[in-house]
Amino acid sequence: MLNIKDLHVKLEEEDKVILKGVDLDVPAGAVHAIMGPNGSGKSTLSYVLSGRDGYEVTAGAATLDGADLLVLDPEERASAGLFLAFQYPVEIPGVGNMTFLRTALNAQKKARGEDEVSAGDFLKLIREKAKSLKIDADMLKRPVNVGFSGGEKKRNEILQMAMLEPKMCILDETDSGLDVDAMRLVSEGVNALRDAGRSFLVITHYQRLLDHIKPDVVHIMANGRIVKTGGPELALEVENNGYADILEEVA
């Protein structure tokens, strides 16, 4: 599904190299986790994949189902099936949550040559999905993420994911700022979307989230590279011993 080869990335504005040859292969239906210390390049990887400005790819490739992601605009990547759940979802005053989601959904459908969703069908769909994430009607009507608590923002990300039904979901520290209950809710939302045709890349600092969203593969990222790959037990090792041992081992 997602294939990253020897990806090198630097900041556009300064001579700072962040990713120094990332290789990653997430097959269809798989859940991969990336863990790593602060500054290892995890969030940069998610931004580069989703097409945020400010980064320059100096070498390497990233494809989604064989299509070159790096030449696409962010909206084209979204229509191709890529979704990034933001670490810090953006507040957009004046744009209603529902208007936003309907515009996004129909824009993607249009880009893929599919029929747009009618207002009635959309309403039915969003109510159903919102309910399971305990998002009430008031939250749907409010401007995007404005006045939402940390937990509400993350739930809103998962709602968007559920509505847009992407093939490849990247979760960037979705557990940050969540209490235990919110974490369970968000994880349930993600698990409900697990499907043979859908892959996940879960970026996190803590093993805790991986108790709820069980990964098939865990990668350790450090200094702009993936330095170790293993099963779920790798996450437990990090939780118990920190990164120091692993980093020493691969150094």
Partner: protein, 428 residues
């Protein structure tokens, strides 16, 4: 103290080119007085305090610069509403194109007819509110208008008027110079919605005097045409009685030069005045909102909400004042002026002012200039919304606070549709 010679000469030349219409003695007196006021003030110049942001040359000139003709907006603003239309072609009333001017509770007459009558209710208002609005800031074009307006309408609402009255201004001559004057009286407890739409002329000077009696309610929504080359100077002079409501919203979508002045006086306790504007400009566009709200009664509320979206060299200006007079306690005054600059060539100039002589009031004002929020833009795009559509969404979100001032949902939707199609036409 006389005017500087150059200013005095230009003013005299302009006067010489104008003809004062005939009328009954009260009208003649009002016009003569206005002409005298105008001569004393003279045409404005860049050195005048309230003309620093806006070049008045094309408004001062004897002949207006030519303005190319464009097909009228299709469908025209407000055309889906059940309304009473009053049509002006280049500033001349067209009875054939207008609806039958009869509506329960409404007295409506052409200005030329009203000013022929020896006795008329409009006598107490014509030029009267304009004169009140000349102090402390001079508004020479309004005085010129009172003296020389060639057409217009006087109307009086004596109860709740069920249909909006719609002044539709068609522009059909490249060199037309229209001067229209309106007098509106909303009687005690009456309600009136007034709509204005269209570019009007190559040059348009419009003055509207609005007297809202106690518990009266006046709603005003205008769409000043779109994508044309008109130069306009307009004035609203409003006087508000006890527990009365005044709400005015203006949409401006291009036009070479637009100077919209509003002078609102809250004279009765517990009155409310909201004035809002959304202006979108692309290219050769200069838009100036000059607003003066005076609180002269207890427990009144005023709101000024002005938003401008500018690009490709478009210029926006805002001069807004809240004056709270001695004794106008419990005043709640609010003013916000904001611009969204879509590129580095656009410009926004703002002069917010507060002057307060009462001690128990809440007054706030703010003015900002900003660009599109790149974070929000990326967030929208990451969900599949195209860059241009995402930008339009953010522009409309920026304008929302002004549009929310329109009470009628149907009218707000009409305005929103116009904005959306303008944004689509002016992408890139």
């Amino acid at each position: 103290m006389g005017l500087p010679a150059d200013k005095s000469d230009a003013t005299a030349d302009r006067l010489a080119a104008l003809t004062m219409p005939d009328g009954a003695s009260w009208a003649r007196i009002a016009r003569e007085a206005a002409s005298t006021r105008f001569q004393a003030m003279g045409l404005p110049g860049r050195r005048d305090e309230y003309w620093r942001f806006t070049q008045p040359d094309t408004l001062n000139a004897i002949q207006p610069p030519e303005a190319a003709l464009y097909p009228p907006e299709d469908p025209p603003a407000f055309s889906a509403l059940d309304r009473l239309s009053v049509v002006f072609r280049d500033g001349i009333f067209d009875p054939e194109a207008s609806d039958d001017l009869a509506l329960e509770g409404l007295e409506i007459e052409r200005l030329s007819t009203a000013t022929q009558a020896d006795f008329h209710w409009a006598k107490d208002l014509y030029g009267v509110l304009e004169t009140r609005g000349q102090d402390p800031v001079e508004r020479p074009f309004a005085a010129l208008n009172t003296a020389f307006a060639t057409d217009g309408v006087v109307l009086r609402a004596t109860k709740k008027i069920l249909k909006p009255i719609h002044f539709r201004y068609l522009h059909e001559k490249t060199d037309s110079d229209a001067i229209l004057h309106f007098v509106v009286r909303v009687e005690e407890g009456a309600e009136l919605t007034l709509l204005e739409g269209g570019p009007a002329a190559a040059r348009f000077n419009k003055c509207m005097e609005i007297d809202v009696a106690d518990r009266g309610s006046f709603h005003h929504i205008r769409a000043q045409g779109r994508d044309h080359e008109r130069r306009a100077v307009t004035h609203l002079f409003a006087r508000l009685g006890e527990e009365s409501t005044f709400k005015s919203f203006t949409l401006t979508a291009n036009g070479r030069l637009t100077r919209n002045e509003a002078v609102i006086e809250l004279t009765g306790d517990n009155a409310t005045a909201h004035i809002a504007g959304a202006a979108v400009g692309d290219g050769d566009f200069h838009h100036d909102d000059t607003v003066f709200v005076t609180h002269d009664a207890v427990n009144c509320e005023s709101r000024q909400v002005f938003k401008k979206v500018l690009k490709n060299g478009a210029v926006g200006a805002f001069q807004g004042k809240i004056l709270v007079k001695e004794g106008a306690q419990k005043t709640d005054g609010y003013q916000i002026s904001q611009s969204l600059l879509l590129d580095e060539d656009a410009q926004f100039l703002a002069k917010p002012e507060l002057e307060i002589y009462a001690d128990d009031v809440i007054c706030s004002h703010g003015s900002t200039t900003g660009a599109i929020d790149e974070e929000a833009l990326f967030y929208l795009r990451s969900r599949g919304v195209s860059a241009s559509e995402a930008q339009d969404l953010l522009v409309l979100a920026f304008l929302a606070e002004a549009i929310e001032e329109i009470e009628s949902e149907e009218i707000a939707d009409d305005i929103l549709t116009r904005l959306e199609s303008w944004l689509v036409r002016h992408r890139g």
